[in-house]
Amino acid sequence: MPVFGLHIWLPEAHVEAPTSVSMLLASLLLKLGGYGFLHFSLPFFYKEKSLYLVCAFLLGVLGVIFGSGAALHQFDLKRIIAYSSVAHMNLALLGLFSFNYLGIGGSVILMVAHGLVSAALFFLIGVLYDRFFTRLIYYFAGLARVMPLFSIYFLFFTLANMGFPGTFNFLGEFYIFLGLKLVNEAALLGGVFGTLLSATYSIWLYNKVCFGQLRLDAFVLTQTTNSKNW
């Protein structure tokens, strides 16, 4: 689980991995840490929770804020989604260590939802990489004009990733916040601030990739190299 301070491997692994491995990494491997916390750490070390609870909340809040803030400063699309995963898994960590039904249930929901949504986002970035042979965000602009289906899916999964109401992510984040409200309001404020930042980088990412003036060199590259048409 990419807890703050122990998350450095995650963006590097995503950048080096092919699309399918990134999807599996984001949707399954990250959740194994959450399962380990849920099944072993929480029941085994419940009595000693006063010793590590502050540390866990601090790491979780730092992870949510840092993950979302770092995503705003990346120039590789995969690294943006990887840092988004860091932020969401730290939010799940906050929910797990709230030690109540709402927080733990919300963490489980968020992990399931994030498994679907982050896999889809990595797949969408793989689609871009198949066509443009780059993941650098500087090369992408105005794709809504030439890739409308891609843009619709990208919009949906970006909204889901930021926890838009109606998606499962919203329910998970909402439950985690309800659970945190009962135990630690400072952690709740940190989590809410990190979630606001996640909305910021999600909107920025979608705006950068799908809107703006289409880059002609990228468009010509797409026209000449891609044989995958409807």
């Binding site: 029941p43 009595k47 733990i104 489980v108 896999a119 030439v146 999964f157 998606t167 797409t222």
Partner: protein, 47 residues
């Protein structure tokens, strides 16, 4: 230029899953209620 049929299908399935889980949240909560309560009870039993 846009998505191929295979890519469209994969994304469509993921979209349906995400929307299904979001819309049927109450049913899903009913499903995860039991294992979550199991964990919470297990933690409380340690007190």
């Amino acid at each position: 230029m846009d998505l191929s049929v295979r890519e469209f299908s994969i994304l469509f399935i993921l979209t349906i899953f995400t929307l299904f889980l979001g819309i049927n949240a109450e049913s899903i909560l009913g499903i995860i209620d039991k294992p979550t309560m199991y964990i919470v009870n297990k933690i409380d039993a340690k007190l």
